[in-house]
């Protein structure tokens, strides 16, 4: 059976979506879990290469996948269960980050998802393990992921974790799925631990973000861009006022988040937190960046320069970190530079785990480090 025949009976995605995804035989938007499971079974049967698509905002990460079919989660956009008094939210993968956060904010809560949501979906953010700027206070996205339901490469519907804030019941599947880029399964729904939004918040200019990191107790974020450094504070109004005075600088009420850097190539520099100032100093001239002090992450962007990239990557890896390509204007750049860098040790084990969830190896083949 041809790939086209195998998927003839399934729900097509809209023409708008089909126009933006990479070229593929078929672009599907399964209407429910059962149909998605059938799609994945069919994919395993005919060995069709599957690219999973949420909002498309983080598709630039990883080796390029030439898919036979693209599977969109656009039909999975419902809020399944929101228990404000429990500070938990169960939401389907295709829900937009911005929509979810706006809904939560109405009741003074947040899932601390990335602040630059745009078309990003919850499932995409989880699959790519993308954390927002507030990570310093609330931890990375994978720390707030309590439960996950996926459809595996061979069409099994698998749930792991639970809908409570504390849980050690079997293997922590949610954390394995976070950052798996669709290689274990299509994320169908997730449960997040929520946080209450504080009454007061402020963005305070700071001269020395490293000192601010030492002085402040639990700031929400400490960001530095080419325009300056800012401490993001939250708490009671009295608390925010006293903290703001302590670090000095001009105070703006509320949070003013920087735009994510953009350029010919966008990168994620990951180093031990104390090396952030060093990392900023090593960025190629003219690159834009948002550095997260206390976290060890610098998202940066600029013109692609293979030598500068190799140098930066060499340093980051030597320091136990990574320098990961997150996006590029031109796909040919992925042919000249490995988007991940040196693969981690233990690739054999990683491959065995992927095989446990995707025995026919149809999900995003080749996308992960080491070309798997």
């Amino acid at each position: 059976m041809s790939v086209a025949d195998a998927f003839r009976s399934f729900t097509r995605a809209s023409a708008e979506l089909a126009a933006v995804v990479p070229p593929a035989e078929t672009v599907l938007a399964p209407s429910g879990v059962d149909e998605l499971a059938a799609v994945m079974q069919a994919a395993s049967d005919v060995r069709a290469r599957v690219l999973v698509w949420g909002g498309g905002t983080h598709q630039g990460i990883g080796h390029r996948v030439a898919p036979d079919i693209v599977v969109s989660t656009s039909a999975f956009d419902r809020v399944v269960a929101w228990e404000p008094d429990d500070l938990t939210l169960v939401v389907e993968a295709g829900a937009k980050v911005d929509t979810v956060e706006a809904m939560l904010a109405d009741r003074g809560q947040t899932a601390a998802l990335p602040e630059w949501g745009g078309p990003a979906t919850v499932g995409g953010i989880v699959a790519a393990a993308i954390s927002g700027y507030r990570r310093l206070r609330y931890g990375p996205t994978r720390d707030r992921l309590l439960e996950v339901t996926i459809v595996t490469g061979d069409g099994r519907v698998v749930r792991g974790g639970g809908r409570v804030v504390k849980n050690v019941t079997g293997y922590d599947l949610p954390r394995l799925v976070a950052g798996s880029f669709g290689s274990l399964g299509v994320v169908v729904s997730v449960c997040f631990k929520l946080w209450p939004l504080s009454g007061g918040s402020a963005t305070v200019a700071v001269d020395d973000p490293v000192r601010a990191a030492e002085t402040l107790f639990r700031p929400v974020a400490l960001l530095e861009t080419p325009d300056g450094a800012y401490a993001y504070l939250a708490g009671t109004e009295a608390e925010v006022r006293s903290e703001a005075e302590r670090v000095g600088g001009a105070v703006t009420e509320g949070f003013v988040w920087p735009d994510p850097p953009s350029g010919e190539t966008v990168w994620s520099l990951r180093v031990p937190p104390a090396l952030v100032p060093d990392g900023i100093g090593r960025l190629p001239a003219g690159w834009s960046f948002v550095a997260e002090h206390g976290v060890g992450h610098i998202r940066c962007a600029g013109r692609f320069d293979p030598e500068a990239v190799a140098e930066l990557r060499g340093w980051a890896e030597e320091m136990g970190g990574a320098f990961v390509l997150e996006d590029a204007d031109d796909d040919r750049i992925y042919e000249t530079v490995d988007p991940w860098g040196t693969p981690p040790t233990g690739l054999t084990l990683q491959r065995r785990l992927m095989a446990a969830f995707d025995p026919a190896h149809v999900l995003v083949p080749g996308r992960l480090p080491g070309g798997r």
Partner: protein, 472 residues
């Protein structure tokens, strides 16, 4: 050569235990199950652990990792004989990196020792199980341990940045590190809480948390358990996540007070221990919120710990509760389940009903803030049928919690205790997926067999042919 001879060849006679007494002692954890030990090995290095795993493989015997043995779910109890690998001698703190707020430690480092070592840097290890003066970091990692302060700080998994682990083939793998977001699948998360069934952790890179600049600790007294439970739900609903929110019922308070004399109100139906941390204006405002919610729910008395000494005394009462109960009955069975915080009131009511139905004294001391219940059932194991009654009541407690939207375990793990209750939460397909994870790590089932997953988990099958050339 015999298994024991091989191990002695590696470790010497001092670090291989095989006497009747030793095998008896290591056959049990702090819970109620007893297993069977062939031999106990006490490695001091990663290389020794790796070699032990290879020796065990050669002899075809299981390997059961063990920390301090403070677990209650039977996770460290060997069910089919084999080598118990006790990591207590791997208790070196290799590095405290204050600038990056983390530490590389051996699995045998005692939880509280790590916090003490980090104290000069104004840091501590946040997970603080009640057994923290005895339990090891390796055990904490294996069980994703919690503690009262996990309410705001999260469990062990939120504090593990990297792990060095010996795999089933004796290979040593390092995952994670000081930099955030390691590339590839995040194996740290799947190893934490895996209860020694996937590998043996030989080093852990753990996050250290800054000590708070200020703290307020409140002791709140109630005339009914419902009011106390409603206060817990109310505080969370008011948008406050305190550092800790702990509850003790009357029987437990009496036992603790009898032993400690901390001035706890023994006539109260329930007490709450609430703690907020942060800068002074923050802790004052947050303490006010807690006071207001407690008053709304008919709190009889709200006492603020005046100084560090009083605060320490209150926490001592909380953390030594399990020792204090010895006066009530010769044996106790401590349970660990979780419900959504909004279900606390009704769940507590049913917990007492189950106790009455089985004729068991039920005492409660628990992490109310995150819905993590710890009912203690008091009994006398020498009384015929008593333990069977306890097990039946325990199973019913788990069923109750799952029915109310909860999970089997919050911080003690599944071990042997709840292995056969996993189906309450998971479908055969879910369990099969978990069994495949186990298989990917440990194809021969060498590590801690018969734990976590019930027998027959790896049997789900679509009945479809596996595609040709598939990865199997």
């Amino acid at each position: 050569m015999s298994l024991q001879t091989d191990l002695i060849g590696l470790l010497g006679t001092d670090r291989v235990l095989a006497s009747g007494l030793d095998r008896y002692l290591y056959g049990k954890d702090a819970g109620v199950y007893r297993g069977e030990v062939t031999v106990v090995a006490l490695p001091e290095t990663t290389e020794e652990v790796a070699e032990i795993v290879r020796i065990a493989a050669r002899h075809g015997v299981p390997v059961v990792p063990r920390g301090a043995g403070t677990g209650l779910a039977g996770g460290a109890v060997p069910l089919g004989g084999g080598v118990v690998v006790a990591t207590t001698r791997m208790n070196q703190i290799f590095e405290i990196d204050a600038a990056n707020r983390c530490a590389w430690v051996g699995p045998g480092v005692i939880n509280l020792d790590l916090s003490r070592a980090a104290e000069p840097y104004g840091l501590h290890f946040a997970p603080d199980p009640s057994s923290q003066s005895a339990c090891t970091i390796g055990g904490n990692v294996a069980n994703n341990s919690g503690g009262p302060h996990c309410l705001a700080e999260g469990s062990t998994v939120n504090h593990v940045l990297g792990l060095e682990v010996v795999l089933a083939d004796g290979d040593v793998l390092v995952v994670g590190g000081k930099a955030p977001d390691p590339i590839g699948l995040d194996l740290r998360g799947i190893l934490v809480g895996s209860e020694g069934t996937l590998g043996i952790v030989t080093k852990a890179l753990v996050r250290l948390t800054p000590n708070p600049p200020d703290v307020r600790t409140l002791l709140i007294t109630f005339d009914s358990v419902e009011d106390a439970a409603a206060t817990v739900s109310g505080v969370i609903a008011a948008g406050l996540v305190p550092a800790a929110l702990e509850m003790m019922d009357q029987r437990m308070t009496q036992a603790v007070e009898n032993w400690l004399g901390a001035g706890l109100p023994t006539d109260a139906a329930a007490i709450l221990l609430a703690e907020v941390t942060g800068d002074t204006p923050a802790v004052e405002a947050e303490a006010d919120v807690i006071r207001a919610v407690a008053t709304e729910h008919r709190a009889r008395e709200i006492r603020l710990a005046r100084d560090e000494a009083e605060r320490a005394l209150l926490w001592k009462g909380r953390k030594s509760a399990f020792g204090a109960v010895a006066q009530a009955a010769p044996d106790y069975y401590l349970h660990d389940t979780v419900v959504p915080r909004t279900k606390l009131v009704e769940t507590m009511r049913e917990v007492y009903e189950i106790g009455e139905r089985y004729g068991l004294t039920m005492m409660n001391v628990f992490h109310a803030g995150d819905g993590n219940l710890h009912p203690l059932m008091m009994f006398d194991a020498s009384e015929p049928g008593a333990l069977e009654r306890v097990h039946a009541a325990a199973d019913e407690l788990v069923e109750l919690c799952v029915r109310n939207g909860g999970v089997l375990s919050g911080e003690h793990g599944i071990g042997k205790e709840k292995r056969d209750l996993m189906h309450l939460m998971f479908t055969p397909v879910d369990l099969d997926a978990q069994a495949r994870i186990k298989e990917a790590f440990d194809p021969e089932g060498r590590f801690n067999p018969e734990k976590v997953l019930p027998a027959g988990s790896r049997c789900f099958d679509f009945g479809r042919p596996i595609p040709e050339g598939a990865w199997i």
